[in-house]
């Protein structure tokens, strides 16, 4: 615990003056936030929709002149839970902008927001039907025969499954905070255990996994998060840059999306409850998914304080693949700190882009 020193009278007066000014600014900006809220502009990096399948859209980012690497990068984010604009939050704080600036031919698969009509969609269909089509479209558009798959969160295991089933076009595989060994998935492992969590009853009742229940699940992971967020906001309310970042991140953090029912059922049963992926028991499209079939270079990135995918849960991919070129690094921060925020821009993105660049020739 910090010991406070007793300051001089002049120092007290200076601090008091400084604090008073900051408080006046805080009140003014707080009023602005409440009474004149501005919709934050997210996802501003130039992009082009390459392909659309049902709700899922494949975007290509950047301009042809800036593309220096021949191997394109396809980013596969999570399906459901949240929207992918976290990867392109706002100029200066965008992973996609960073990748484009590094000369990558960058693609993002936006799974979309699924409705009741999509409740029959399964993990199987995503990995064996949608992902292969998207990869094919990337290869065709970039006029190449290989691609780097970059999976974030749930996109990590989905990309790994795809790379295991269709290894030919995958030049490199990057898993950023993607759960692989679900016995080590922290609180979700305990909460989603089949003894306590009846996924069948939930899906049969609602047809899908409603966005509000997704929100409750994630808020429960860190119940004090909102308190910390708003205490930090009050503290930094005088700082325009902080407020701009807060608005964008807060918009994303409260923008939950539902899971298609059958997808959620299969996801919970096969991955969290039976841990089939790491046990080599997962069957997709009639074929067994063997992670050992992955022989391409792989990079696994874990976050030390990740409650959604603890580092050891993501790291399990390292031992499961047969690749000789594999690297793992772990950084301080939580699940989101890998993809958004100043720490990510300083420590994570340059490492990821440098690793891919070395293997994109």
């Amino acid at each position: 615990m910090t010991e406070w020193s007793v300051p001089q009278t002049s120092e007290v007066a200076r601090q008091l003056q400084e604090e008073t000014i900051k408080n006046i600014q805080r009140i003014g900006k707080g009023m602005d936030l409440v009474f004149r809220p501005r919709e934050p502009q997210v996802g501003q990096t130039p992009k082009e929709a390459i392909h659309k399948r049902n709700k899922s859209v494949l975007y290509r980012y950047g301009l042809p002149a800036g593309r220096r690497h021949t191997i394109p990068v396809l980013m596969v984010p999570n399906l459901g839970i949240s929207r992918p604009y976290i990867f392109d939050l706002y100029p200066g704080s965008s992973f996609i902008e960073h990748m484009v600036q590094q000369g990558f031919d960058f693609y993002l698969l936006d799974w979309g927001v699924f409705g009741d009509e999509d409740n029959g969609l399964t993990v199987d269909e995503c990995v064996t039907k949608i992902l292969p089509v998207m990869v094919r479209k990337v290869l065709k558009t970039s006029n190449t025969d290989q691609v780097t798959l970059l999976g974030y969160c749930m996109g990590g295991p989905l990309s790994a499954c795809h790379a295991a089933l269709y290894p030919e076009p995958v030049k490199n595989l990057v898993n950023m905070a993607g759960p692989i060994d679900y016995k080590k998935a922290g609180l979700f492992t305990t909460w989603l255990d089949r003894r306590h969590f009846d996924v069948d009853k939930l899906v049969d009742t609602f047809g899908s996994m409603p966005a509000d229940m997704v929100r409750i699940g994630f808020k429960l992971l860190k119940p004090t998060m909102d308190l910390t967020t708003f205490s930090n906001l009050w503290w930094n309310l005088w700082d325009d840059k902080y407020v701009e970042g807060f608005q964008a991140l807060n918009k994303w953090a409260n923008d939950y999306v539902p899971f298609p029912g059958e997808f959620f059922r299969q996801w919970v049963k096969d991955f969290y409850q039976a841990n089939k992926l790491i046990e080599d028991e997962l069957v997709l499209g009639g074929r067994r998914v063997l992670l050992s079939a992955i022989g391409c270079p792989i990079l696994v990135v874990g976050a030390k304080q990740d409650y959604i995918c603890p580092p050891e849960c993501a790291r399990a991919l390292m031992d499961a693949v047969s690749s000789s070129d594999k690297e793992y690094f772990e950084l301080p921060g939580g699940h989101i700190s890998l993809i958004a925020g100043r720490g990510a821009a300083r420590h994570v993105w340059p490492k990821v882009s440098a690793w891919i660049a070395q293997r994109s020739r």
Partner: protein, 197 residues
């Protein structure tokens, strides 16, 4: 009475009210008296109080009231977060949450079912499509879309194969080697000897 003991009294009062509240909820949701689904919460109160008291004892003074407040807030939140985290990773919490969800679904399920059948009945009477019919229609469109896409891919593939075949034929039927290149027969007759060679 010092500030510290006042705080402890308040915490004890809060603990008692929480326990009574939980007990009331437990009875309301119809849990049998024999099981204590909220047992996991009890050590949490003790730990939380210890941490809180520790924070109060360790904090010094500063003229910057707001910095002091912020530090106190951060320390308290962090301490409570650890305590809550510890409680939530127990089997007891998972079991209590599972039971709560089950009871919620037991209540919501029949309600949704009766609401759906009533609204479907109403829509049928009004000669309007039901939600299920609209959803089914949307599903059909989605599957048609997928089939159309598969067809497009197939046609694209065929066109690619055809153009590569044409290129091959053009290459094989260059004017120097075979004057009969303009006819299919000519092209075919030209290829066979070339392969043999």
């Amino acid at each position: 009475m010092t500030d510290e003991t006042k705080t402890q009294d308040l915490l004890l009062l809060w603990q008692r009210s929480m326990e009574q509240g939980i007990e009331a909820w437990r009875k309301l949701v119809g849990q049998p008296d024999t099981t204590d689904a909220f047992q996991f919460l009890r050590p949490m109160f003790g730990q939380g109080m210890d941490v809180w008291t520790q924070i109060l004892q360790q904090r010094g003074t500063t003229p910057d009231v707001f910095a002091q407040w912020k530090k106190f807030m951060d320390d308290s939140v962090e301490a409570w977060s650890k305590v809550l985290g510890g409680a939530m990773e127990t089997e007891g919490f998972a079991s209590a949450m599972g039971k709560f969800l089950e009871q919620y679904l037991n209540t919501v399920g029949p309600m949704r079912k009766s609401l759906h059948s009533a609204s479907e009945e109403f829509l049928r009477t009004m000669n309007l499509p039901s939600r299920k019919q609209v959803t089914d229609l949307a599903s059909n469109i989605v599957s048609l879309d997928a089939r159309l896409e598969a067809l497009e891919d197939r046609i694209e593939e065929l066109v690619e194969n055809l153009s590569s075949l044409t290129a091959l034929v053009k290459q094989a039927g260059s004017p120097r080697t075979n004057p009969a290149r303009s006819t299919k027969q000519g092209r075919a007759s030209q290829r066979i000897p070339q392969k043999e060679v």
